[in-house]
């Protein structure tokens, strides 16, 4: 970085990535600066690949050809061991079933801390805090296999948060959940955002994303084509059929109310826009 001071939680410079045996790179020259405490949603193609690169899974665990650099709190993911990155970045994957590989919720939550040699007393403190945060304290001794989908994903988030990362990366965390489970997960994410955790996520529910995200990125052909606030994002891409937007936002574009109004992202904002 030529002595340049890094202030972002995650910074990428000219990041490109091509999977082994693939002819074309899926990420092409991406420059990003994600500020601490910011929530960034990612849409478009190769979004999971971008998330894996931001979290250091690429290049450590996924083979391919990576160019450029990714800095997590100033540490280059190329040269920093995954165990060091794991203390800073927590990654929640799509399938909650595969992230709970211990026998009870409690054992799943402490697993990362045990691996990182956190003292037992400290483990107990963190265990109680994260279980309370995700609302699973009453289920701490429950076998992971007996949880509902939403509970499983919350347990996965708790397991990641127990390591106390400042950055949380979530790859479609609600893909396999029903609306109730999705709401449970987003309730936790809203609380984490209030606590100042940096969140980067791929999520297909626009109704949940729009009020949570500070920025929405759109990846088109491996490049960031739009990087804007949710309001601006929907304005710019309102004609793009690939974009799903909250129903209230869509209604606003189809039948705008009289006068100058901000694009609504929530039902409450919609009510105000239409004078309800």
């Amino acid at each position: 970085m030529n002595g340049e001071e890094i202030t972002g939680a995650i910074t990428t410079r000219n990041l490109s990535f091509r999977y082994s045996r693939a002819p074309e790179p899926v990420l092409k020259g991406i420059d990003l600066e994600i500020e601490p405490g910011c929530c960034v949603a990612v849409w478009g193609s190769a979004k999971s690949t971008l998330l894996m690169a931001l979290g250091g899974v690429i290049p450590h665990l996924i083979s391919g050809h990576m160019e450029g650099e990714v800095l997590v709190e100033g540490l280059d993911t190329h040269s920093t061991p995954l165990r060091e990155l794991a203390k800073r970045v927590g990654i929640v994957l799509q399938d909650p079933e595969n992230q709970l590989f211990n026998l009870t919720v409690e054992h799943d939550v402490v697993f990362g801390m045990e691996n990182l040699r956190v003292p037992r007393e400290e483990m107990g403190r963190r265990l109680e805090r994260v279980l309370d945060l995700v609302g699973l304290t009453p289920l701490r001794h429950r076998p992971s296999s007996q949880l509902s989908g939403g509970q499983k994903q919350r347990a996965s988030i708790a397991a990641v948060l127990a390591v106390e990362p400042k950055i949380l990366i979530l790859d479609e965390p609600t893909r396999e959940l029903d609306p109730l489970g999705t709401e449970e997960v987003f309730r936790v994410l809203r609380r984490l955002k209030e606590d100042g955790v940096t969140i980067v996520l791929v999520e297909n529910d626009p109704g949940q994303i729009a009020p949570l995200a500070d920025r929405v990125l759109f990846l088109d052909d491996g490049r960031v084509s739009v990087d804007a606030s949710p309001r601006q994002f929907y304005c710019e891409l309102r004609e793009d059929t690939r974009i799903r937007m909250p129903q209230v936002t869509e209604a606003f574009f189809r039948a705008p109310p009289p006068g100058e109004q901000d694009v609504p992202l929530t039902v409450e904002e919609g009510e105000r826009a239409y004078g309800g």
Binding site: V57, F101, R117
Partner: protein
């Protein structure tokens, strides 16, 4: 998992779960050695009674233990019949030129009892030992954690694999692929084509679990801390160790004399 054998140990439902994991290992090792030490039917049956007694005293899940025994029964009956047909000796039963010899049947029964004893020893072990405390103990006695952890992982992974198999079966049944109503042999043949999608699914799942484990710093350091605690062996543990040695010695002596 509530119905699984190890759930009893996990939830501390049995007083045996309070014993040190090494104690359970010593006891089980003694039972296994005794099972192999003699083919005397009386000794073998005595061992069965002893192990069922332990299960009763330890409030282990007897019904589930018997289910395990029922699972091994067809194989052992097959062995008994084969031994009866193959071994020369006094005929117990003759049908159409085939006769079952007394010696062969007795040998088959002794093997059945041996298999039952091995099944009892292992199910009693898994019903009494907390899997995480077992991993912890194995790590402390020198086994690298990544190997010691396989017990826990296997207990979590196997039900997932069975679930995947059920899903594939149901998907195929929905398309008219009949598996259920055929006899056992046809069923085995019918299940073979399901192995390819199962293997692919299992490999994908294993990759995903491995990724999730790496992301939580699995194997980051040679040593790790533990949330579970295992107290040093107490009087009860010493008593079980002594009893194991005494029983084993007595059994071996009896085995040589009978």
């Amino acid at each position: 998992m509530a119905g699984s054998i190890y759930a009893h140990a996990l939830e501390g439902r049995t007083p045996l779960a309070r014993l040190h994991p090494v104690t359970a290992m010593v006891w089980t090792a003694a039972m296994v050695v005794m099972s192999f030490a003699s083919l005397d039917l009386r000794l073998g049956l005595g061992l069965v009674v002893l192990q069922i007694g332990v299960a009763l005293i330890g409030r282990l899940p007897l019904r589930q233990i018997f289910v395990v025994l029922l699972l091994v029964l067809p194989l052992t009956l097959f062995i008994t019949v084969i031994q009866g047909l193959a071994r020369p000796g006094e005929a117990l039963l003759s049908i159409g030129g085939l006769s079952l010899s007394r010696e062969g049947v007795l040998l088959g029964l002794a093997i059945t009892v041996r298999v039952a004893n091995l099944a009892l020893a292992t199910t009693n072990f898994f019903a009494s030992v907390h899997p995480v405390r077992l991993s912890m103990t194995l790590t402390r006695i020198g086994l690298p954690f990544k190997y010691a952890y396989t017990t826990v992982l296997a207990l979590r992974f196997l039900p997932l694999v069975l679930g995947d198999l059920r899903n594939i079966q149901n998907a195929q049944k929905a398309r008219g692929y009949d598996i259920e109503r055929k006899n056992l042999f046809v069923r085995v043949v019918k299940i073979m084509p399901l192995m390819a999608p199962l293997i692919v699914t299992v490999l994908r799942r294993a990759h995903s679990i491995a990724l999730a484990m790496d992301l939580r710093a699995f194997g980051a350091f040679p040593e790790r801390t533990w949330w579970e605690e295992v107290a040093s062996p107490g009087r009860a543990d010493w008593a079980v160790w002594s009893l194991s040695v005494l029983l084993l010695t007595g059994y071996l002596l009896l085995g040589f004399t009978l």
